[in-house]
Subunit: 441 residues, 2 copies
């Protein structure tokens, strides 16, 4: 993360330092981008502003360097190319240090909701300036420019930098957070193994890029599916970043589970706590009604309908994405974005006393006897420092253990399928059945 | 607005009081809606919950009445059918009274961004519980259910009621805010006069409905285009609501104008203030660089390029919607939603000292000599009470006055075009040219 005190130098000088050989912007796009939104200041005017107002009232705009490689100059977008010393202004001097948030799949619908939530300050708080680093593809670069223009037009005070690119080695530079949303959808006739391989390749590259250029303490949330195994591939390719820092998003499943329990119990959803999703973000996921609580009471003491809990409850969560697509004609971008924001907030604010949240995290060292070296959704608590610990006092019964075994077996099979991507040998793909959730990307 | 203290009675009993004759839900849709999300509590379980926990820790869920007209019962959606007494719970007893926010075009893309912003608390604040009343069409009712499901899955603590419907007389009931986003797009070969008539009809009905059932102090923001004249039609059909309460959204134009001035001046956008958009939300709109300020200085002292200000600046704002569609493949839903949130916040928080904001408001009594009895974007200040006053100390020069006259002439022509919808006689349509903004709905 760049220190704010250093930000009085123009932000794009940073790009001289690293990876200029890996820049992969299309010059055609850049031309139109510059024409639309990037207008370097005439030097005379620049000088005028910095002289004609009182100190502390205004910052001199950063003067564009006279000779700059045009490839590096265009990392930033439009008004976000102008970077100031936040420490010198009355309103902003108490702000925290700027953090870099990298988002892949940035031109997609989930990001289109998430980016504006991040920029508004509602996730990281009203004193946390942010830089958004948007990763797209050659095909989506124009759309990324559209997203950046809408971010400009939104005038978010905390949003101090926006840059767009298609090379993860550039976009992930100094990232404090990496929200990996982009993944390819399954093509017609593609087997699940094919999808694992196709998307796995993306996460090999992104893992390597994070390992090379991100903050050593970057927090990574993998949303692109199959997210557990993608997260495993990603962390295996980033050996210099703690495996503990990688998450696979199961928060939407947790939120849906809370809502379904609330509906069944006839209470508002804020009464449901201690909701664990165990395992894979797939139809084998295990929403845990043994440990969850309603108004502080065990679920089973409130909902006596055992058949509903054991048979319909899980299905109601699994099927929700499909029902939404039927009704709404597209997948659940808005609530997915909300759940990503929830996942971040759970890591940067202390978990309420006695409660926990679910996240797909690395199993090595887990206290539940779950197989090591996979990414498995488990109950977590955080002190609000970005880190988490697994919750110790969890009950298990035969029903819960049997289902945990099933989702564990699936994740172990997925892992065998991607041995070539994790450095763990020749892949052997014996996936039992297709368990992708309906309505997933 | 319903008093919170009254909310311990089931919310749907309210619907007995009014307009049951005007209910227009499709029973087919309702059937599937109930099946998916509305599960009345078995009375035994209900009784159990209310007895098994200590007072003040939990509210007994509102018991569904035993005999209720199925049409009225299904106004609410899923988990939002359960309403509690917020005053009885520790965390919520200091909250403000629930407000009803009606949103039309609720299944569209702008709403899909806006509704989640409203529900999150970022617009109305962390102690303001809200009820969202979603107005759609017969065609969009399934999609509305999808939106409501995603709102359920987002677990927003402040969102206490969601209801969906297609009859404005029902949806606008007790509305404290009406955000009128829905409008029809122009069909192939349709003249602008045809569009004015087509959308005008919608706003006749919605104005009458607001007049009949909304809060007497409802604030109305019209977003559906042509928004100025739609707002005029709406207020003319709601004679019992103060004309001052109706707004046409020009905030996205204001935000874009600030960003373009910042880009040109080489400063961050938070340095631009006092930005007025005068007139119609169309290509005749007048972004006012005579009165706007950059770092507290008049724009013309900072940006010396008179040709840019007089020719390119306005065009850069007008064309932005079209450029976005080219790049992004769809219109600017996210930044439009941000600007609606900004417009609301400007009315419920005191305007910063010396600054103002733009809104399309009713001209009768304006101090600028603008023709009376139209809706015209002008500079406003608010004490944060939902109301506003027009700013007095505004400068005019010949250039500004000439352009204001042109946009005024356009709005007067639009008004003559819709005389049959405002009760002002036979329409005479002599619109000079097509001035719809590119990329507008």
């Amino acid at each position: 993360m760049a220190a704010v005190a250093e930000l009085s130098t123009p932000s794009y000088t940073k790009t001289h330092l690293v990876h200029s050989s890996q820049l992969s912007f299309s010059s055609t796009h850049l031309h139109s981008h510059r024409r639309v939104a990037f207008r370097p200041l005439p030097r005379t005017q620049n000088a005028r502003i910095s002289c004609s107002v009182a100190p502390n009232q205004v910052q001199a705009p950063a003067a564009p360097p006279q000779t700059v490689d045009p490839k590096t100059k265009t990392e930033c977008f439009g008004v976000f190319c102008l970077t100031y010393d936040l420490k010198a202004e009355e309103e902003t001097k108490s702000w925290k240090k700027l953090i870099n948030i990298a988002v892949s799949g940035a031109a997609g619908m989930i990001s289109n909701h998430l980016l504006f939530k991040l920029a508004s300050g509602e996730v990281f708080g009203p004193d946390q300036p942010i830089a958004l680093k948007l990763l797209g593809s050659e095909r989506s670069l124009q759309a990324l420019e559209g997203v950046a223009m809408e971010l400009e037009d939104s005038l978010f005070p905390l949003l101090r930098e926006v840059s767009i690119g298609i090379d993860p080695y550039e976009v992930f530079q100094d990232a404090g957070w990496a929200l990996l949303i982009g993944a390819k959808p399954r093509g017609p006739g593609m087997e699940r193994a094919g999808l694992l391989d196709l998307n796995g390749q993306i996460f090999v590259e992104q893992g390597k890029a994070l390992n090379a250029v991100a903050s050593r303490n970057v927090k990574v949330i993998v949303v692109g599916n199959p997210c557990n195994t993608n997260a495993l591939i990603c962390l295996k390719n980033a050996p210099n970043i703690p495996a503990k820092n990688f998450h696979a998003l199961t928060r939407l499943d947790e939120n849906r589970a809370k809502c379904q329990l609330a509906l069944k119990a006839g209470v508002f959803y804020d009464k449901v706590s201690n909701m664990t999703i165990w395992g894979n973000h797939s139809t084998t996921q295990v929403p845990d009604f043994l440990n969850a609580r309603i108004d502080g009471l065990p679920v089973k003491e409130v909902i006596k309908d055992k058949k509903w809990l054991e048979e319909e409850f899980t299905e109601s969560i699994q099927k929700r994405g499909g029902v939404l697509i039927q009704k709404w004609g597209r997948s659940s971008a808005a609530s997915t974005a909300v759940s990503i924001a929830d996942a971040i907030k759970s890591l940067i604010t202390p978990t309420p006393e006695g409660d926990w949240f679910s996240s797909g995290v690395y199993t090595t060292g887990n206290p539940y006897g779950i197989a090591e070296d996979i990414v498995f959704s488990m109950p977590c608590r955080s002190k609000g420092d970005g880190d988490y610990e697994l919750v110790k006092d969890i009950q298990f019964d035969d029903y819960l253990l049997k289902r945990i075994k099933k989702t564990e077996a699936e994740l172990l099979a997925e892992k065998r399928c991607v041995g070539h991507l994790t450095g763990q040998g020749i892949p052997v793909c014996d996936l039992p059945e297709d368990t992708m959730l309906p309505g997933e990307m």
